[in-house]
């Protein structure tokens, strides 16, 4: 029985522990060859194997009447009626973006697009969720500017609208920015395809770009280690995105599916060919023989291990019947896209890789996909320690209510995102019924006459205060956003951005947050259909806030009636809907005041919140309201100001006794306005009109002044 030789530490450099390496040797009955070691080290990385999160993820409810494909496929898919399915997923590209923000963010979009068309869906929308350090930091401004430009470059160039997103600035993200991208796609249900390879004798065809040394030791290794001293060495592996190649690959893949030429389809992402081929083989319970010499290369002299783990972008892998290969190649040629047979499906259950007539890898598929150990977390609630330093106060302790409101509107987290979303094309494909800033969720018309709504949310600061309640709030807030346009949630996707899970307090944050998401999903009846986990977002000196990002998709019957957030008509009554009992814990105003992060967050009154959502949704769909807006960060004061600014009209409101205008309870309260008759039975708190926002006895500020504060917030920095 071979043992681990202590002198050979290459497995450690590749991120495998001694124990893991011993396990590999034990399973194989020999030491792995170089190519095998490279393949195994990537497949056994956190990024591919989910070894610290798999057990926890099992808590998420994944079933529901609309689910067509759940977690385990490249993207989840829900049924939207009339034979159509909507595929969606959110994914992180945090580490590559910290190293090279433009290309990192661009290839993040490229990667999530491929996950969507890998299941046969045409991408119809992108959203982005970004976290940076405070914009007073030069590095954060650089990261913001470059990441946004990268997303714009890729998304705009492939002709997929970027319809929404979110950005938060917190010192906790100074060392580790977060760049998450979400994509939605639309497919006739009959065109949906899984990645499982099938049919021994069938041909494995590689589509798209040439293979170079991109990302060798890139995403997977990067995603499994804290960014630290070794940064510089990791840098040469930056992947460059080519949206033009992606656009052709997308059109060509969909055409191949439309012509029923493919048996299975899979994108190449982290760990390149190795991961794509292993997943295809594992899914179909088959083996694969791959011939490295046939993989078209961008530069000479790539070693077989490099070919097998290269993360060159804009590539896909498919399985084709031998007699259809010529048709596949011809269809690809029309789109100026390479299609190269590189191997075949076998019944061996093994992944065999040849190079120069030599067998360089011969592994059971199971060791690549199933045998990586799963680690139990050791969660421990940190008691009596504060994990994050209090932010510096930027608001004077004696600031008036009007000053506080203006400071909130102009703060980096609440200010207008116009400077960012103006860099994205939100309208290409002619489906976008609600653009950024028009409503709380983006609305996309469906060919069925109905519409989809989509939103993405996740406030890390609140999760840091109370992981379970904060993560649940993100789900509720997403649902609230869909509610405001009149949509009923169909499913959600999530990206779990956390620190090092081997640290007990991070493990606690992770398990608590997942539990919070699971509880909220059950309460709202929304299944989780997919997601992504990004751990080790932790520079030596700094850990991020635990940041689960929730992307939710819903359906509404009549796009023409989709809700808007702006106050529309002088004289309209304004009502407050929902069990809104906010506090200042974890709020934006607490941050500006320099308060330390601390819970507890307001208790979610589940049944009452659900009732409120039903009420608002029904009224929006009936066309009874002129506006609907959820009350989020900045409390009811900021929510009212946002409605005023968007509509260019004022309002006069008497807040319920004792309601703090800036306290928060995300996802629990709604503002709606409309004619008095429409609001019968609701708690009327004021009226639309005039050119100022007046909170009786609290503040009066001109709408123009509110708008200037909100518009100028980011402009100061960009």
């Amino acid at each position: 029985m071979p043992t681990v030789s202590p002198s050979d530490q290459r497995h450690r450099q590749l991120g495998l522990t001694d124990g893991e390496y011993a396990l590999i040797v034990q399973q194989l009955g020999r030491h792995p060859r170089d190519t095998e070691l490279a393949m195994l080290s990537l497949m056994w990385s956190e990024h591919c194997a989910y070894k610290h999160s798999r057990t926890t993820l099992r808590r998420l409810p994944t079933e529901g009447p609309a689910v067509l494909m759940g977690p385990g496929e490249n993207a989840g898919v829900v049924d939207v009626g009339d034979g159509l399915g909507v595929a969606f997923k959110v994914e992180s590209h945090n580490h590559p973006s910290a190293v090279e923000p433009f290309q990192g963010a661009a290839t993040g979009v490229g990667g999530i697009l491929r996950d969507i068309f890998a299941v046969g869906a045409r991408p119809i929308a992108v959203l982005d969720s970004l976290r940076f350090g405070e914009p007073t930091s030069e590095r954060s401004r650089y990261l913001l500017e470059q990441a946004v430009a990268g997303i714009a470059h890729y998304g705009n160039s492939v002709g997929v609208p970027t319809v929404g997103g979110e950005i938060y600035f917190e010192a906790a993200y100074e060392q580790n920015c977060l760049v998450n991208a979400m994509c939605l796609g639309l497919a006739p249900i009959g065109r949906l395809i899984r990645s499982a390879a099938a049919g021994p004798g069938n041909v494995l065809v590689l589509l798209g770009a040439l293979t170079g040394r991109d990302g060798i030791g890139g995403a997977s290794v990067l995603a499994s280690a804290e960014l630290g001293e070794g940064d510089a060495a990791k840098r040469p592996s930056v992947q460059i995105g080519d949206p033009f190649a992606e656009k052709k690959l997308l059109e060509c893949s969909l055409e191949l599916l439309e012509s029923e030429l493919l048996i299975s389809l899979q994108d190449l992402g982290a760990a390149g060919l190795t991961s794509a081929a292993s997943e295809m083989a594992s899914g179909g319970g088959v083996g694969l023989d791959i011939d490295c010499d046939r993989v078209p290369l961008r530069e000479l002299g790539l070693a077989p291990f490099e070919i097998m783990v290269s993360e060159s972008q804009e590539r896909m892998l498919c399985v084709v019947a031998p007699d259809r290969v010529a048709e596949v190649v011809a269809a690809c040629e029309r789109w100026e896209t390479r299609a190269t047979p590189i191997g075949e499906v076998t019944d061996s259950g093994r992944m065999r890789v040849r190079h120069a007539a030599e067998l360089v890898a011969d592994l059971p598929v199971s060791i690549l996909v199933d045998d990586c150990p799963v680690y139990d977390l050791a969660p421990t609630e940190p008691v009596g320690v504060s994990l994050y330093p209090a932010p510096p106060a930027t608001l004077a302790p004696d600031a008036s209510a009007a000053e506080t409101l203006l400071a909130l509107l102009g703060s980096a987290n609440l200010a207008s995102r116009r400077l960012v979303y103006e860099q994205y094309d939100p309208i290409v494909q002619s489906r976008t019924v609600r653009r950024p800033d028009e409503a709380d969720a983006a609305v996309l018309a469906l060919p069925t006459g109905e519409a989809l709504a989509v939103a993405i949310d996740g406030n890390g600061r609140r999760v840091a205060c109370d992981p379970r309640a904060g993560a649940a709030e993100a789900v509720y807030e997403c649902a609230a956003n869909l509610t405001c346009v009149g949509a009923t949630p169909l499913g959600l996707t999530n990206c779990l951005n956390f620190g090092n899970p081997e640290k007990p307090h991070v493990a606690w944050q992770l398990t608590e947050a997942v539990e919070g998401i699971a509880q909220a999903c059950r309460a709202l009846g929304v299944p989780v259909v997919g997601g992504n986990v990004s751990l080790y977002n932790e520079a030596p000196t700094d850990a991020i806030y635990p940041t689960p990002v929730i992307g939710m998709v819903g359906r509404l019957p009549d796009p023409a009636r989709a809700g808007r957030l702006r106050f529309a008509r002088a004289g309209d009554a304004i009502a407050l809907v929902g069990p809104f009992a906010p506090t200042r814990a974890g709020s934006e105003v607490a941050k500006l005041s320099g308060h330390e992060l601390a819970g507890p967050l307001p208790i979610m009154q589940t049944a009452a919140v659900r009732d409120a959502q039903d009420t608002v949704r029904t009224m929006v769909n009936a066309g009874a309201l002129h506006n609907a807006h959820d009350i989020a960060e900045g409390g009811i004061g900021v929510a009212l100001a946002e409605c005023c600014v968007a509509g260019g009209i004022g309002a006069r409101v008497a807040l319920p006794a004792g309601l703090d205008p800036f306290a928060e309870a995300l996802g629990q309260g709604f503002l709606v306005s409309g004619p008095d008759v429409a609001l019968t039975g609701l708690a009327i708190i004021g009226r639309v009109g005039g050119d100022a926002l007046e909170l009786e006895g609290v503040l009066t500020v001109a709408v123009a002044e509110l708008a200037a504060a909100r518009d100028g917030g980011l402009a100061r920095f960009l």
Binding site: E100, Q103, G212, D214, V238, Q239, I240, D242, S312, E336
Partner: protein, 83 residues
């Protein structure tokens, strides 16, 4: 000193622009052109040329993905074939 900084993608780094130009040329009837790369040129007047490398590395180029060269653009100017 008037200087030029010539920036191009590092060897082995994907150069989609270079590829696009190379593919376009035969269609225009230009054959025999290979190994095309597209980069940037920055021309500037600099009082202290000794600081140029630092300027290049901190601002003008992205050292992760680009190589650069500094060439003088002072007279005698290179032969101009400009239209």
């Amino acid at each position: 000193m008037r200087a030029r900084v010539l920036v191009k993608p590092k060897a082995g780094i994907l150069d989609p622009q270079g590829q696009a130009v190379q593919r376009a040329l035969p269609a225009l009837g230009f054959t025999g052109v290979t190994d095309v790369h597209v980069g940037r040129m920055i021309e500037l007047d600099v009082q202290d040329p000794a600081r140029l490398p630092e300027i290049c590395e901190r601002l003008l180029t992205n050292p992760l993905i680009e190589d650069y060269e500094i060439v003088s653009a002072d007279p005698p100017a290179p032969t101009t074939a400009s239209a």
